[in-house]
Amino acid sequence: MAGFLLRRGLFAIGVLVLISIITYGIFFWLSPDPAVTICGKACTPETIATIRHELGLDQPFWLQYVQFVVHFFAGTEYGTGPTATPCTFPCLGFSFQTHQAVWSMISSRLAVSATVAIGAAVLWLLAGIVGGVIGGIKQGTWWDRAGLTVALGSISLPNYFVALILQYLLVVQLRWLPFPSAVKFSDSPTQWFANYLMPWIVLAFGYAAMYLRLVRASVIETLSENFLRTARAKGLPSSLVIRRHALRPALTPVVTMFGMDFAALLGGAVIVETVFGLNGVGKLTSDSITKNDQPVIMGVTLLVAFFVVVANLVVDILYTVLDPRVRIPR
């Protein structure tokens, strides 16, 4: 087990290092010169050269990358004197636009993204697992068909389109929900809840459909396996067989998928946050893209990659614990 963990852990770290190099490389070679962006109006070639030097942009790629990694762990400072802004671990550099530390910009928005992700996850897990298990057990019934049809529809709907339809119906036509406006939970819990309800539903919509299909297929497959047939043949009641023996193996694939999906969402639901004007990491990403704020885009990319890689690792470990059929590979 220890060897397995070590190997997976090393691989995860390797992936992260590689992703950071590729990400850094893309911004290094493809993006427009950040010095020109910072320099702003009334800019001379000399000023640009000064800025490039100050930011270390005149150094070769590998040196810059190594410096980035060193700063990430050891921290650095932006500006000089008593007003310099410190950047401590995990230091992802400074935004070209707001001159704030990238990590503080991201971390201050993580709560919103997490709220979006958690609420949506609860909804889609509920709908997906319940629908999938019922569909799998009662395969071919009216329930199953209805579930599959709804899933097919919602899997085909792009979430920004669902967002518009929902807003049009619930806010404009039926007036069941107030127009979204940014409020703190402490100011108005009802408005706060109403604000998040639509993003939750919209996000959960597509995922629930995927999970329903996945769980359903998995349940059907598990039910056809030998050990369950044996259990049933031994005379155990059907409901007991399902609860005790079928569900756990049937739900293990869900764990894999959920780990990855949820991790990616923690790094911001770009489209949903943009459409609903929620000030999360996803909105930060799309705003930074329009402003060409490369350090922020890079920071978010690395953060999401980190989440996904860690989730992968956790899932791998959980898998060995959850599914009796999985043996640790040597």
Binding site: P32, V36, T37, C39, G40, K41, A42, C43, T44, P45, T47, G79, G81, P82, T83, Q97, T98, H99, Q100, P178, F179, P180, S181, A182, S188, G277, N279, D287, T290, K291, N292, D293
Partner: protein, 500 residues
């Protein structure tokens, strides 16, 4: 910007906040509009009494001088560079932190300040409204190179209580500000909270709904075109504040590019553009008014003209084709630099369509919103054409035509003469008008120059942007002001019922 700065900063002179006179320059920290020598190269101002910073220290002439000196520091340059442009400073002067004292500003006593200029500037009192002339306490230890961004020392009725970049600013009263010394600011509210980064559609919808705290809210931006259709009820109409922004949006052609270096081609393009379609793309008649002049209509001495007329301003393709034929140009293909926003892309598409009708192919080159102005201001990076706007720093041809059309103002970077027009007659006329000490005559001459330039067609004036803003139902004293980009004047707005 000036609208916000007026809340926390005072300058020697500033813009009036009387309704309908928002573009007029009036004394603020100074007792009057200043005295100059005969050729307007030396200007003397006296400070009012009982004027204080938010630190409690009195504002002296030395503080004004220090503020101006700071503006010479290349790192701190904010806004229009009038201090560097007009003051008689050594070429290598880089502000008080690096270069120390600037001898061309004299402070014979604490309430008198004398500016020595490098040229005659009859409108110098107007230039003093600019943010670069904001006073800061003359103490390089407390007011450092970066401290103003972190903790500004205020001279106006409010001071910054808290500031989160890109998100919010909270203003509270500056206890040392005395209403008796200030004829411009009413400063009714006790505190003002600014929230940034709220989605425009959300802002509109919240103001339309007018619920809870939103009754005390005004918006810093004009409503979206899509919201105009919702503002048709009498209740909503009564809360609408609308007016000119004092800015002109125009198509500018790079006169150094092949094809566009031919005046006939530029005139053909002037005829071809369907301005009504551009206006529709910009949000329709409520948000834009067609213009045929570069100067805004609130400019003193303004005269209207239309050198390239067409029915309903929808363009005259026949005339345009004629001119292109006369120029011997065919199969012209141009690149239109476009700021990557929905409305600017639509406007570029309107121009693309209009020019397609006369056989000119236009390729839209999208530039992200943040680097657009740098790109078009860099002569090596700009392409053939672009749609951009200009708001004069104060209502006068002198802050409009020279930066856009004077040959000596073509810079390889940070260039505002995007057309790269370098016409000897225009250059000579600009220099001549700038020396006129009779402002009425000068204003007339600027408008005549506007026409003279338009004959060369370096730009196609498209429209004056207008602002339509909505205010909460508990907001009083809100009116639109062209010097504040058509938005609600912050300095005079208040709550009808503060207890609400």
């Amino acid at each position: 910007m000036i609208n916000f700065y007026q809340l926390i900063y005072r300058t020697l002179t500033t813009f009036s906040s009387k309704k309908g006179e928002g573009s007029k320059v009036v004394p603020d920290l100074a007792t009057d509009m200043g005295q100059s020598n005969a050729d307007a190269t030396v200007w003397t101002f006296h400070l009012k009494k009982n004027i204080y910073f938010s630190t409690g220290a009195p504002i002296t002439s030395k503080d004004v001088k220090f503020g101006v000196e700071r503006a010479f520091d290349p790192k701190l340059a904010v806004g229009a560079p009038y201090a560097r442009l007009y003051l008689d400073a050594p070429k290598d002067y880089e502000g008080p932190y690096k270069s120390g004292d600037l001898s061309s500003i004299e402070t014979p006593d604490d309430s008198t300040i004398v500016f020595h200029l490098n040229q005659s500037v009859p409108e110098f009192a107007s230039a003093l409204t600019e943010p670069v002339f904001t006073p800061f306490p003359d103490d390089p230890d407390t007011v450092t190179e970066t401290s103003v961004d972190q903790k500004p020392v205020s001279s106006g009725p409010y001071e910054v209580k808290s500031y989160t970049q890109g998100s919010s600013i909270a203003l509270v009263r500056n206890p040392y500000w005395k209403a008796s010394t200030d004829s411009v600011r009413k400063a009714y509210p006790d505190k003002i909270d600014f929230t940034f980064g709220v989605d425009a559609a959300t802002v509109d919808q919240r103001l339309i709904s007018d619920q809870g705290k939103d009754v005390d809210t005004i918006s810093g931006n004009s409503v979206l075109p899509s919201s105009l259709a919702k503002l048709q009820t009498p209740q909503l109409k009564s809360r609408v504040v609308e007016g000119e922004s004092g800015c002109t949006t125009y198509l500018v052609m790079n006169t150094t590019k092949p094809g566009l270096n031919n005046v006939k081609v530029r005139q053909a393009i002037s005829y071809a553009i369907n301005k009504q379609q551009v206006v529709d793309a910009a949000g329709g008649n409520q948000l834009a008014t067609i213009t045929n002049t570069m100067l805004p209509s609130n400019t003193p001495g303004y005269q209207s003209f239309d050198l390239y007329p067409s029915k309903d301003s929808k363009g005259d393709p026949a005339k345009a084709k004629e001119l292109l034929k006369a120029a011997g140009v065919s199969n012209l293909s141009l690149i239109l630099d476009t700021r990557e926003t929905d409305t600017m892309i639509s406007q570029s598409e309107a121009i693309q369509q209009a020019l397609a009708k006369v056989g000119i192919t236009v390729k839209i080159n999208q530039i992200d919103a943040a680097s657009f102005y740098q790109t078009i201001g860099t002569t090596s990076e700009q392409h053939d054409m672009t749609v951009t706007g200009w708001c004069p720093d104060w209502a006068s041809g002198s802050t409009f035509l020279p930066p856009l059309f004077q040959g000596s103002q073509i810079f390889s970077q940070g260039n505002s003469n995007v057309a790269q027009l370098n016409d000897p007659a225009v250059n000579a006329q600009i220099e001549k008008i700038e020396k006129m000490t009779d402002l009425t005559e000068a204003n007339k001459a600027w408008s005549a120059l506007d026409k003279q330039i338009n004959e060369l067609a370096p730009t196609v004036p498209l429209y004056y942007a207008k602002a339509v803003s909505l205010v909460g139902s508990n907001v009083g004293g809100a009116y639109s002001d062209p010097q504040r980009a058509g938005g609600v004047n912050f300095a005079t707005v208040g709550l009808l019922d503060p207890s609400k």
